[in-house]
């Protein structure tokens, strides 16, 4: 199937998101779509698949003008969309999830579970997925859920598959499998539209790259004919110097230490230290238990055993409130669910953990609060009109900066960052790294959980690798390599 989109325009209210985009897909190619957060990539795909209507422009499929009324129609026509925001039904089983809206049924409308089960098993086999079809989706890891999304799309026999950041939650191994599948698909003349912020993947898998910036398609070139720096330059409109900024902070005394942290069946005897000015990277496979460890430290989930020390003093943390009082901040891995109140203003979001500090005679001093928020927004270079903008109106990277602003605002001595750059574009990523460095310069102890290996290597002073709830090893910056980390992470020695 050949798809040609020309002059696509789209506004949401006064916000014109797409201002004339050209984009085409050829049979059997992997076409990467790149651009900063908010460039309009997902919106363009939503228009193609009929979720949104374009204001202007034309879509031709195999030469014929075509407009889908809704995503189902596009899917029936052979265009399947694996969305960036996962579209799962947590309370339903894997099998039910795979077939929602397209169940096999007999004449009486009764669903035919056996048939569906057979197809699902076949597809899982092809994908190398070993998941219980009767498991509730809510019990699966984000990565496993992502695999379901992929399987769902494969089962539709689509001619064009759109993958919007499919690997954001996948492990290296799962990514390998995905890439193999993509290869078999393209061999069968299926085309893939591949959206990702991970450069190395783009160069590994794509045939062509289209770069979008501010709602306009800037350029389309053959992957073989371009390179990393060129793509980045087109995306951000200028040269980015080194991807991972140099870090010069002075690493001093131990600020934060945990001993023997244990939560039954999740992690055992976790002990580590973080020094002032140090960034400690936590690596490991998806589901290794890193998030669980951090949540327990921060008092979100209870600990069965273990001690926490801050500046040499033993502290007790029962809930996030007490962690915050001690000066610990926690950027969660899921900013939309746990990091932000999307409908609320940036000011309300930023001041939330420190709101008790703005009381004057029992009343919130909103002037001081606004100043506080704007100050932090300036320092973090948050792109927004004012502190009264709704958090939902910002791009992913800017939203992430707002969450960071929250925790910088409490004057954290220890900052735990769980996947701080997940879904964030290159430009914003770099700004976040710079921020981390600045904080380290001022003596903050930083823990960074990340599934992005290059990031772990580029940013951390020291790497701790977690394997099945245990610390499998520790590597200094000079020792750490991808191979060594992977070996520890997979339990191989």
């Amino acid at each position: 199937m050949e798809v040609k989109m020309t002059g696509i325009k789209k506004s949401f209210g006064s916000n014109s998101v797409l201002r004339g985009v050209d984009f085409d897909i050829q049979v059997g190619e992997v076409h990467a779509l790149m651009g900063e957060n908010g460039a309009g990539k997902s919106t363009l795909m939503n228009i193609l698949t009929g979720l949104h209507k374009s204001d202007a422009g034309e879509i031709r499929i195999d030469g014929e003008e075509k407009r889908f009324e809704n995503p189902k129609e596009a899917e029936d026509y052979g265009i399947s969309f694996i969305h960036q925001e996962m579209n799962t039904w947590p309370e339903m089983t894997v099998l039910e999830n795979l077939f929602i809206g397209k169940e096999f049924k007999n004449k009486l409308g009764i669903v035919q579970t056996k048939k569906m089960r057979a197809l699902a098993e076949k597809t899982f086999n092809e994908l190398g997925v070993t998941l219980d079809l009767d498991e509730d989706v809510k019990n699966l890891s984000v990565g496993q859920q992502q695999m379901i999304e992929i399987a769902k799309s494969l089962m539709t026999n689509a001619q064009v598959i759109i993958m919007d950041e499919p690997t954001a939650a996948l492990t290296e191994r799962e990514i390998d499998i995905l890439f193999k599948i993509i290869r078999t698909l393209t061999d069968k003349n299926v085309s893939i539209i591949y959206i990702s912020h991970r450069m190395e993947e783009i160069f590994k898998i794509s045939d062509r790259i289209t770069v979008m910036r501010d709602g306009v398609s800037i350029d389309t070139s053959l992957t073989a004919a371009t390179n990393n720096d060129e793509v980045v330059r087109k995306m951000v409109g200028r040269d980015l110097e080194d991807y991972y900024p140099e870090k010069h902070s002075e690493i001093k005394d131990v600020v934060f230490e945990v001993r023997d942290l244990t939560q039954k069946d999740r992690f055992q005897n976790i002990s580590f230290q973080v020094k002032s000015g140090e960034i400690v990277g936590f690596s490991g496979l998806m589901g290794a238990g890193r998030t669980e460890i951090m949540r327990s430290i921060f008092g979100v989930d209870p600990l069965d055993k273990g001690e926490i020390f801050l500046e040499g003093k033993k502290i007790t943390i029962n809930n996030p409130s007490s962690a915050i009082k001690e000066g610990i901040g926690f950027l969660t891995e899921n900013r939309k669910e746990e990091g932000l109140i999307l409908d609320y203003s940036l000011r309300d979001n930023i001041s939330l953990p420190s709101i008790d500090g703005f009381i004057k005679k029992g009343i919130i001093d909103t002037k001081a609060e606004s100043e506080f928020a704007t100050m932090l927004m300036k320092r973090l270079k948050v792109k927004a009109e004012s502190e009264f903008d709704a958090a939902s109106s910002l791009s992913g990277g800017n939203q992430q900066k707002v969450v960071l602003a929250k925790w910088i605002g409490i004057g954290s001595k220890v900052l735990i960052l769980d996947e701080p750059t997940r879904g964030v574009d290159v430009g914003a990523k770099r700004e976040i790294y710079q921020l981390m460095n600045e904080l380290a310069d001022r003596g903050v102890a930083i823990i960074m959980v990340s599934s992005d290996l290059p990031e772990i290597l580029g940013v951390s002073d020291r790497v701790i690798v977690v394997h099945e709830g245990n610390i499998a090893g520790e590597l200094s910056k000079s020792e750490a390599t991808e191979e060594k980390i992977m070996k520890l992470a997979t339990g191989g020695y």
Partner: protein
Amino acid sequence: MNDIKESKGHSKISLGKLGPLLALIVLIVLVTVMNPGFIAPTNLLNLLRQVSTNALIAFGMTFVIITGGIDLSVGSTLALSSALMAGAIAGGLDPLLAMLMSLILGTVLGGINGLLITKGKMAPFIATLATMTIYRGLTLVYTDGNPITGIGDSFIFKYVGRGYLFGIPFPVILMLISFLILFIVLHKTTFGRKTFAIGGNEKASFIAGIKNDRIKIGIYAISGLMASLSGIIITSRLNSAQPTAGGSYEMDAIASVVLGGTSLSGGRGRIVGTLIGALIIGTLNNGMNLLGISSFYQQVVKGIVIIIAVLLDRKNKK
């Protein structure tokens, strides 16, 4: 991890699923010990007949609650459809036709709720709160506040609420048939799948091509239909249509659904649970009457039982 799997429990029988059933059994044993008359077959049939009217409404409510909605208007729907039916019968319409008309009317009244909620984008609570008032007002206007009588000659009409088939009260049979049909619809058909899907993730369902609005309208229509069916039974049993009929029935129905383990936040639920929930409420009412507990204390006990049952259920699922 184990417990999570259990609470879902496919094929496997799980504690979470058994929670409401256990509660019911405990209750039955307790009441029987205190008054053995309780398990006399005649009383059990009597109990089942009492349960049937609430259970029917609760079945429809189960669909509504699974989508994350609520239907406060069931009692008023029951009253309005019954009043018009009784009026029609008293006016000489064939009772069978009148009953059919009542069912259609209930469906339409439910459908109006669905329209307000989908096309009007109103919160189900407030939409059905409004129609609850409106339907009740219309009933009062139509009946002028008086019960409608003079409907009692037709055997068929009497039979619906007061007949016996093989010794089983006919309302009980109606309840069982409805249960079976709705069980299949909810758990075996695509309509049921879609009901769950909407409750679980409305946006994703839309993207998956489910016509959310259509399904929801259908679901509220089912709720209205069940309310009017319940109304036919009540009208037949009382040999008259009462303008105040069904007042606060929504509460018992909702309590039955929740006692049965269906979550008010939507996306999860079982209609078997609702049947058990309705039996719990019915056993409480009947049992406490048998035990001669004053109606004042009955209310206190009923509230406490709801709390305990929900807390236990929560615990099992943990």
